[in-house]
Subunit: 224 residues, 2 copies
C-alpha cells in the first residue's frame, strides 16, 4: 500500500488474494500503516493513465512479489462509505494463488482463514464477501479450482478442492467420470507417493476443445 496522496483519490483498487491453507480458504491482509493491530485488504489509489488491471497487478506485486494465477474484477463498491482511502468508490479484484506457494510475506502481510478475519472497514468487508461469492459461483465457468492448485496435482487433491469450494462431499467415481467427460485434465507420467497407500498419478490442467455440448438446459440450477 504505497504512496498516500494529498487529495482524496478518485477511486481505489482493492485486491482480494485467496489461497488455501490447511484445507481452508484464506485471504491475504496487509497491516495498516497507521493502526497498531489493524489489518486491511491491500489497495492503492489509481494514478493517471494507468489501467485498473495495471493497478491491481501492482498491488499484488507489492504484497506477494508474484502474480496470482488468475485475476478478475469483481465490481465497484461505493455504497459502504468508510474505506481507508476515503475515496468515493473502490473497484475490487479477486486473485487466486496456488496452495502451498511459499509466500514471501514479512510481518506486514499474512494469510487469514476466512472464518477468522479481523474487523475490516465496511466497504472492504463487502468486497471480501463479494470476492468469495464470486469464486464460489464461477467455479463451473472459470477454472478457479485449478488456479488454487499447483500446476501438477492428484485427482484426490482436485476433488478435495471442489469439495472445499462447494462445501459438499462428492463421490469419487462420479467426480472422475465427470472429469473424464469434460476433457479438462491430462495425466502426466509422474506419480506421487504420499506415505502409505498406493501412489497417485499427477495430472495437469489442459482443457481440450470439445464439440459444443449438445446438452439442453438445466433450469433446475435456477433454484433460489
Amino acid at each position: 500500500m504505497p504512496d498516500r496522496r494529498p487529495r482524496r483519490p478518485p477511486y481505489s483498487i482493492d485486491v482480494v488474494l485467496l489461497t488455501v491453507v490447511r484445507g481452508e480458504l484464506a485471504v491475504l491482509l496487509s497491516r495498516a500503516p497507521d493502526g497498531r493491530e489493524k489489518w486491511a485488504l491491500p489497495w492503492d489509489a489509481a494514478r493517471n493513465n494507468e489501467t485498473m488491471d495495471a493497478v491491481a497487478t501492482r498491488v499484488c506485486k507489492s504484497t506477494l512479489d508474484q502474480d496470482p494465477a488468475w485475476k478478475e474484477q469483481i465490481g465497484a463498491f461505493g455504497d459502504a462509505k468508510r474505506h481507508p482511502s476515503e475515496s468515493d468508490i473502490s473497484v475490487g479484484f479477486v486473485g487466486l494463488v496456488p496452495a502451498g506457494t511459499p509466500s514471501p510475506v514479512g510481518g506486514e502481510h499474512a494469510w487469514f482463514p476466512l472464518h477468522d478475519v479481523p474487523l475490516l472497514s465496511p466497504r472492504q468487508r463487502l468486497i471480501l464477501d463479494a470476492a468469495v461469492g464470486m469464486v464460489r459461483s464461477r467455479m463451473d465457468q472459470s477454472p478457479v479450482a485449478f488456479r488454487l492448485l499447483p500446476q501438477m496435482f492428484t485427482l484426490t487433491e482436485l476433488q478435495q478442492m471442489y469439495e472445499l469450494l462447494l462445501a459438499k462431499r462428492l463421490h469419487k467415481a462420479s467426480f472422475r467420470r465427470a472429469l473424464q467427460g469434460a476433457w479438462l485434465v491430462e495425466p502426466t507420467d509422474e506419480w506421487r507417493s504420499e506415505g502409505r497407500g498406493r501412489p497417485a498419478q499427477l495430472y495437469r490442467y489442459a482443457p481440450r476443445k470439445r464439440r459444443p455440448a449438445k446438452r439442453g438446459i438445466r433450469l433446475d440450477l435456477l433454484s433460489s
Copy 2:
C-alpha cells in the same frame, strides 16, 4: 442525461436497458445533447452521498419513467478512455424491461436492435457488450428470461425467450419437462387465443423452495 458539472465527475453511472423487440434483444439509447445524430447509453454523474443504485435508478427513470424489472451492476470500466462524461471510470448497470411494455420514449430515446447499434464511445461499447454477455451467462442463476417477459406468459413464449438468449433451438417436450422439475412457474386460470390454433394457458413466475438439489457437478460446463 441531466446536469453536466463544471469539473470532471469522479465517476459516471451508465445503464444498459435491454428488452426484446420483434424477437431480438434491443438496447435503449438516448440522443446525445451535443451531437446531431449521436446516440449514447443513458448515464449520469454521481452526486455526493448518493448510492450507485440510486443513481442507476434515477437514470432509468429519466428515460423510461418506470423501473426495470431487474437491475444489476456489471462492473467498473476505465481502460477505454473516451466517454461522454470524461470521467476516469464508469460503473455499468444492466436493466431488463419486459417485452411489450409501452415505452413512453419521445424522440430523445429509442430502442436499437443489438445488430444495429450506432457508433458509441469506446467505453460505452465495452459496457454494452459486457451487459449482453452478463445477461446471457447468468441465465441459469438469475431469472433473466422471466424479467424480459410480462408477468403472465405462455410456455411457448418462455421457450422462445430461452432460445433467443441461448441462440439455440430447444425441444418443446424436454423444455417443459425441465420446467416442471424446476418448480419455477405456476399456471394461472387464464388462457390466451393467438389467432388460429388451440389457446395456450398463461403462467406466472413463482419459484418454489426445493430440497437442495442432490445432483453433483457438471464439470462439462467449463468447456472454453
